[in-house]
Symmetry: C2
């Protein structure tokens, strides 16, 4: 575990438990940086004793509160999390076929804010931009739509 994270935890009076370390390890994979609670549990279980669901949920919540993780709610309605510490602002390209999420660095928000009148009566705190479509690998393949569990377009 990075010392910056460890420091962060200690500052907030949070203890460094094996479960917490295991959960944070799960987010170290740059190929899959967006994880659901179920995915965290699955990954962790490969290496350690299986954690309890409530431990995972409580930690995702706690780590989000202290700013180590960031919660991202995708269109399927399931909460996803990613490491937020020392991370630059970004958005996501989400593949409707394989469910993979890539980051996209570009953010149109600042420019938009200047040119848009409707935004002048509003105090923005956060924003999110998600682009749904098909990644290079999946092309236009509509099968195995991981994201369509709740977002059903057709039965």
């Amino acid at each position: 575990m990075k010392e910056s994270i460890e420091k962060h935890l200690k500052e907030k009076g949070l203890k460094i438990t094996n479960q917490r370390k295991a959960i944070l390890e799960a987010f170290q994979n740059p190929e899959k940086h967006l994880l659901t609670a179920a995915e965290v549990l699955e990954i962790v279980s490969k290496y350690t004793d299986k954690l309890n669901f409530s431990t995972v949920y409580r930690n995702l919540e706690t780590l989000t509160e202290v700013g180590i993780l960031k919660r991202i709610n995708l269109d399927n309605g399931i909460n996803n999390y990613e490491l937020d510490i020392e991370n630059h602002h970004h958005h996501h390209l989400i593949c409707l076929s394989c469910g993979d999420a890539k980051t996209i660095d570009y953010c149109p928000f600042d420019e938009m804010r200047i040119s848009n009148k409707q935004l002048q009566d509003f105090t923005p705190v956060d924003h999110k931009l998600e682009i749904y479509g098909y990644c290079k690998k999946c092309g236009n393949n509509m099968s195995c739509d991981k994201l369509n569990k709740k977002q059903k377009v057709s039965k």
Copy 2:
């Protein structure tokens, strides 16, 4: 009910029932065009006999499938719906205090698509931009955060 909607339903072989009409009526309020299943049920129940939850859910699903409604999943993880028929493309400004969602017409996507390399390997199908903050009425008031039910920042 607008004839365009009625026509749409008939074309798809869907029947025009009182429940369906009541649900669609609920979306006629321009002050609150984004509704959850629970909100639809509540609004409808003021004017008609209470509908069953499954009727509401099934209709929101069906009406989304045929393109009369559009599903929007906000950060609290609850599905919201809005009328989509004859509606121009737009995004949302969502107030973290009162939960109100206003539409914003401006869309940065086309411009972004041209200038961004990462988007060239991706086939976009849909995108969403949501801006969370405080509306004019609520200012910086953090109380009664309707949206924070699941999105909890603090207990």
